[in-house]
Symmetry: C2
Subunit: 335 residues, 2 copies
């Protein structure tokens, strides 16, 4: 009975994942279940919250699955029970959807974050809050190598809402309501699943589809550069941010993590010649114009100094996709 | 009947001032009433909106005075009638109050701005929206000379809420819902009235109180530097922003206007020796710590190129106070 030997006043690690049914939320939950602890403290409970109650994960601790509206303080407060020490706030309406439906983006990305702040304030002790912001909150374009103090001048509603939410979480941290770390994620590749209408969809598709033996269009030139990370590394960063000392951050809670600046040509070079032949050059100026506004590289000096692991190269990203997702994607798509 | 000779399709200039009962709102309304037009277009109507219905101004056009809640879309929409071409959004909970009451600050400074966006979207044509943001949305401190692309890392709730509201207005401009210009005002001196509990109150008091023949404390050293503007110049900037061509702004709707970087000692040098003797050195480390976080100077290169007039020196600021406010302040305070 080891848990009794440690005394009655055990450290608790009750965790909530908002957006727990999504791509990164699921991976965070699975890794948590696999290791059973966070920074050495045993996890005492996990709440997975999403629009529809997520499927549970198998875990050595109780898992509660809740459906609800992230913009409702009542729903969010129900998902963040007393004693919650960590809230992973991934609930978001992504770029293309927020651009198509301005009200929905504001509601989820901005009012949702205000509901999280409100729910966290009600706790006896301020929880760590991890927030995923985005490279889309910056402008700059292909020529950019953004320093850590680069200003966020977003050219899309998703980026504007994320940048505004960062400011509010930062202020709530200063006030002692919570203890936020906002990670501005690069473009995540290789996403499992299938091509979708997001402008950035092709960055995953040009690697994933050839591995499935399928043709796929490339809408930009081979020299086009993009700031990327793997799903694995994104989850690594969230785990690091969950347990890091936030005192050195001071007021500034935004992290530009050390992603990888890579050209499309360098990505394709990691495929075999036969796979590469499945990538068809189909220039699309509309897509090029959107993704061309995003910065191609960040210095990420501060994040490196704070212990965020740099993204490895494209071969490692590809190997991770083969290990983690290729079989499931093939099965899902009936291939 | 000049108005008939010009034809049936006259340009309309219906204007709303939110926060129309406040210090700057009142001055904007009075100047508008005095000139009767904006950029050569006759003003066809003015709505003054505040928490309590403001007193009307005497004007050669109809003036409607409304009381309401700036965070209520219904109230704000009632204050922005069809055909409104300009909304001057000055409604705010200022720094000390937003710090003392986090919920009130969020409600007015953030949700109020969202209500303005919502009301403007309902108009047939996107109105120009002038928004007063603040030097308090920046950090930096005494050593800072902030470039135009300086990042806003606010160290107070007021500044965080203003910076977040700027992002949302900027995105609403990009979407074509409205056409915003956000002016990040310096510390405005000389404010009429009496000393209050705002940390920045003494910047006005060390000039105003001696002119009234009264002693006043100086909580910082004579070498302390501050970025200031006069009430007159702040209103000049709003008038310039009301009619400027916003196309050159592109996505970036934030303006750091060309204020004046001045030391407390330089401010006091504009007083007579007898007036200066009324300023009592009473160092206050708490006040020094708050105002010491604000940047002391901005480059304001872009604003100058866009035609925003630079702030004149302290003697002119003092002369404007004598001309505009000294007698009224003396009367108000029974001196």
């Amino acid at each position: 009975m080891a848990w009794r030997a440690a005394g009655g006043n055990l450290p608790r690690m009750q965790i909530t994942i908002l957006g727990g049914g999504g791509f990164l939320g699921r991976r965070f939950a699975e890794r948590l279940a696999a290791q059973g602890h966070l920074g050495g403290t045993p996890v005492t409970g996990l709440v997975l919250f999403d629009l529809a109650a997520p499927k549970p994960v198998e875990a050595p601790f109780p898992v509660t699955c809740l459906g609800g509206d992230v913009a409702s303080v009542t729903d969010v407060a129900a998902a963040i029970p007393p004693g919650t020490a960590l809230v992973v706030h991934l609930a978001a309406v992504v770029s293309a959807a927020a651009e198509a439906d301005f009200d929905l983006g504001l509601r989820v990305n901005l009012q949702g974050t205000l509901a999280v702040i409100e729910a966290c304030r009600k706790l006896a002790a301020p929880p760590r809050v991890l927030f995923t912001s985005s490279v889309a909150s910056f402008g700059g374009g292909q020529a950019a190598l953004l320093p850590d103090d680069a200003r966020q001048v977003p050219t899309n509603s998703y980026g504007a809402q994320k940048a505004a939410a960062e400011l509010l979480l930062q202020d709530a941290s200063r006030k002692g309501f919570l203890d936020a770390v906002s990670i501005r994620l690069p473009t995540v590749i290789v996403r499992p699943g299938r091509p979708n209408k997001a402008a950035s969809s092709f960055f995953s598709a040009i690697l994933r589809e050839p591995l499935l033996g399928l043709e796929t269009p490339l809408p930009v030139e081979d020299g086009f550069r993009v700031w990327v990370c793997s799903p694995r590394r994104a989850v690594d960063w969230l785990f690091h941010a969950a347990t890091m000392d936030t005192a050195p951050l001071g007021v500034d809670r935004g992290i530009n993590p050390p992603g990888l600046a890579v050209s499309v040509g360098e990505m394709l070079a990691a495929l075999s010649p036969a796979e590469r032949a499945l990538v068809k050059r189909e220039p699309d100026p509309a897509i090029a114009a959107i993704v061309g506004g995003w910065p191609a590289e960040f210095a990420a000096t501060r994040a490196r100094a704070l212990g965020f692991a740099p993204q490895e190269g494209v071969p490692e990203i590809l190997a991770a996709f083969r290990a983690d997702d290729l079989d499931a994607t093939r099965a899902d798509r009936g291939l």
